[in-house]
């Protein structure tokens, strides 16, 4: 059974169809890249997988380990191992990062029927991972993402990914707004989490990120569909020739 199976997914926002029958299959241990121009529906796809309200699924299905993901609340999906690293992580003033991490972690464990991890143990774990990612300890005492730079926000997402140990990680434009050093730290963090039991979907506009996180499969998305899939060389091809050819392909397919 595949880890994630998306079949002919159709999604509307405000009565406008954004995804027009998208299909995608991801197996355990695989790294998939989804590339596509702005507005092609990449973030929409990631939001629908995570369960963000406001999207109407008018057709198709999403199966996670064979279960109907669309029937689950966002928190259920998280507890089952779906993790979305947001393109734009929000700031949550007044909710201390460390407290948030512990509450979220224990909520997931509770939902899975596992025992909650006590504070000192958890603190130790967070500190270790934070150190590895070069996240200063005092950031953990601040409100979630409040006053964080773009790079710090992205690292905070990867910190959570490392703590929660999801089986499916969706990284939405992890490279946006990062300089080359920040990008390298973030990519190293992601690469450290590669494992046979974990799959990743790396969404990006640019080929650059894929020099650091080497994918097994590359998909090209255009106008709400996957229009081409191939090996990692497809990313380089795109870098050279641009997206225009695929826009044409999407149009003729439509």
């Amino acid at each position: 059974m595949s880890l994630l199976e998306i079949k002919d997914l159709q999604v509307r926002v405000d009565d406008r169809e954004i995804l027009h029958g998208l299909s995608l299959t991801v197996n355990e241990g695989e790294i998939h890249a989804i590339m596509g121009p702005n507005g092609s529906g990449k973030s929409t796809l990631s939001h629908v997988i995570a369960g963000k309200p406001g999207y109407e699924v008018t057709g198709g299905e999403i199966l996670f380990r064979g279960e109907d993901l669309l029937e689950m609340d966002p928190d259920e999906r998280a507890a089952k191992g779906v993790f979305l690293a947001f393109q734009y992580p929000v700031e949550i003033p007044g909710v201390v990062t460390m407290n948030f991490l512990r509450t979220a972690y224990n909520a997931q464990r509770k939902a899975r029927g596992e025992s909650e991890l006590m504070a000192p143990e958890f603190l130790k774990k967070v500190r270790e991972v934070a150190k590895r990612l070069g996240i200063p300890q005092d950031m953990l005492k601040r409100g979630v993402n409040v006053g964080f730079s773009g790079g710090e926000k992205k690292r905070n997402e990867i910190l959570q990914m490392a703590l929660f140990e999801p089986s499916l990680c969706i990284l939405d434009e992890m490279d946006s707004g990062l300089d080359i050093d920040a990008l390298r730290i973030a990519a190293d963090g992601v690469n450290a989490l590669r494992s046979p039991g974990r799959a990743m979907v790396v969404i990006t506009h640019y080929q650059r990120l894929l020099n650091y996180i080497i994918p097994d499969v590359v998909h090209v998305m255009s106008k709400g569909r996957v229009v081409k899939s191939g090996g990692k060389e497809l990313a380089l091809e795109l870098e050279a020739s641009g997206y225009a050819q695929f826009d044409e392909a999407a149009l003729t397919a439509a």
């Binding site: 406001g54 928190d75 998280a78 507890a79 929000v90 007044g94 909710v95 979220a104 929660f164």
Partner: protein, 438 residues
């Protein structure tokens, strides 16, 4: 027959209630005269109603309707129930004075270990032995409800802290109601000497199963020059109780006062604070939180009088309103003509958790001096969907995600409480409210 009798019993007009108890109220001579005058003042005005500007959101004639009979002094059973109610509160390390149904309960109070220089007397003693009729006068603070309190007050605390004395532990005045369908009237005074330090906690709760009672409390706090005072009031009265409280503060030169009120209980309440700067260079934080659901109606009305120059005030008010509840915040700041260099800011924010919830905000700044920094702001809104989704995508169930955001929201008002113990107590009670919400 019985039913009819009971009905007339509980709906007797206030004049009958007063006539029935006046001879048993503490204090003779001047004190008794002061009560008569106060009651006459109340009768002339009657219960406040919506045509009075100050009460336009909280019409007591419509909402409270009448004054219930005075609660009888607590008996053994009442004291036992009160004790159980107190035991169910989160523990706080404080010197505790307990008022049960408006009467001092010595067996539940622990005044041991009080510093020298601190004097604690009950209002009853002060009126009966000391003949302090002035304790029943209302000074410059008019209003029908405070007049009614003067007429009916049965007990309270009269506390004085001598100059330069610092009280280590908070002083806790705990109000407990045990008798349903009755009213209690309490009146307390706290006089803090020059350069003294004190922390006052007030709490209002009901013994299990106490229904439909009324509380009318007056607290008067005088903060001496250079003194530091923290005041935390936690009103968590029974679900169908009425609580009308007037708090009067006078703040001396270079004094610092933090006063915080949280209303989470009662079906109908009004907390009216009246604060006057009486000496230059003082700083005040007057914060508050309303946590309301069901059909609760809670009104916080604060009046800050910048009567002298060079004082600073900060007001942070947060209300969280669910179901069909209604929250009212009226904040009035007056800056008198010679009160130059006044620095006054007031910010009120309401969070509506249901479509039928209501929050009324009425900030008013009246500035008569020209060299001042003053500002106010008011917002009303719902929980931010994108924040909620972020938390849920991290595994928090809906109610828990909401609770975390609500706690952060009210935290902006709670954080001004400097005492760790009292801040934690406040957070615990706010959390309990969130858990009750389900």
């Amino acid at each position: 027959m019985n039913v009819v009798l009971t009905k007339t019993e509980t709906q007797r007009p206030a004049s009958d209630v007063f006539a029935g108890v006046r001879d048993r109220l503490p204090g003779r001579g001047k004190a008794a005269e002061a009560r008569e005058q106060a009651f006459a003042a109340f009768e002339r005005a009657g219960l406040p109603h919506r045509r009075l500007e100050d009460w336009k959101y909280t019409d007591l004639r419509a909402l409270m309707r009448d004054v219930l009979p005075l609660a009888a002094a607590p008996d053994k059973n009442a004291l036992e129930r009160a004790e159980a109610a107190l035991a169910s509160l989160p523990a706080v390390d404080a010197v505790r004075v307990v008022l049960v149904d408006g009467a001092f309960a010595p067996t539940l109070s622990n005044l041991g270990g009080m510093e020298t220089g601190v004097r604690v007397q009950t209002l009853r003693e002060a009126l009966e032995d000391g003949n302090h009729a002035d304790l029943l006068s209302n000074g410059s603070e008019p209003g029908a409800m405070i007049a009614l309190n003067a007429a009916m007050a049965t007990d309270g605390l009269v506390i004085t802290v001598a100059d330069r004395v610092a009280i280590a532990k908070p002083l806790h005045i705990a109000h407990v109601a045990t008798r349903g369908s009755t009213a209690s009237f309490t009146r307390s005074f706290l006089t803090i000497g020059k350069a003294a330090q004190a922390t006052l906690l007030e709490s209002f709760v009901a013994a299990e199963g106490t229904k439909s009672y009324q509380v009318n409390d007056v607290i008067s706090v005088s903060v001496g020059d250079d003194a530091e005072v923290q005041h935390v009031r936690l009103m968590d009265d029974g679900a169908d109780a009425t609580n009308i409280t007037t708090a009067v503060f006078s703040v001396g030169a270079k004094a610092r006062l933090t006063t915080f009120n949280m209303t989470s209980g009662g079906i109908l309440s009004r907390y009216q604070g009246h604060l006057t700067f009486s000496g230059e260079g003082a700083e005040v934080n007057a914060n508050g939180v309303n946590l309301l659901n069901g059909r609760q109606h809670a009104d916080t009305t604060l009046f800050l009088d910048h009567a002298v120059p060079h004082c600073m005030s900060r007001e942070v008010f947060r209300s969280v309103v669910d179901d069909r509840a209604q929250s009212v915040f009226q904040g009035r700041i007056i800056v008198r003509p010679h009160a130059q260099k006044t620095d006054a800011k007031m910010m009120t924010r309401a969070l509506l958790l249901s479509d039928e919830a209501e929050a009324d905000n009425k900030p008013e700044l009246e500035i008569f001096a020209d060299d001042v920094t003053c500002g106010h702001g008011a917002t009303t809104g719902a929980l931010d969907e994108s924040l909620l989704f972020y938390l849920r995508a991290r595994g928090l169930p809906e109610k828990e995600a909401e609770a975390l955001l609500i706690q952060a929201f009210v935290g902006e008002a709670i954080e001004a409480i400097a005492s760790d113990g009292l801040r934690e107590l406040t957070v615990t009670i706010a959390r309990a409210w969130l858990e009750r919400r389900g």
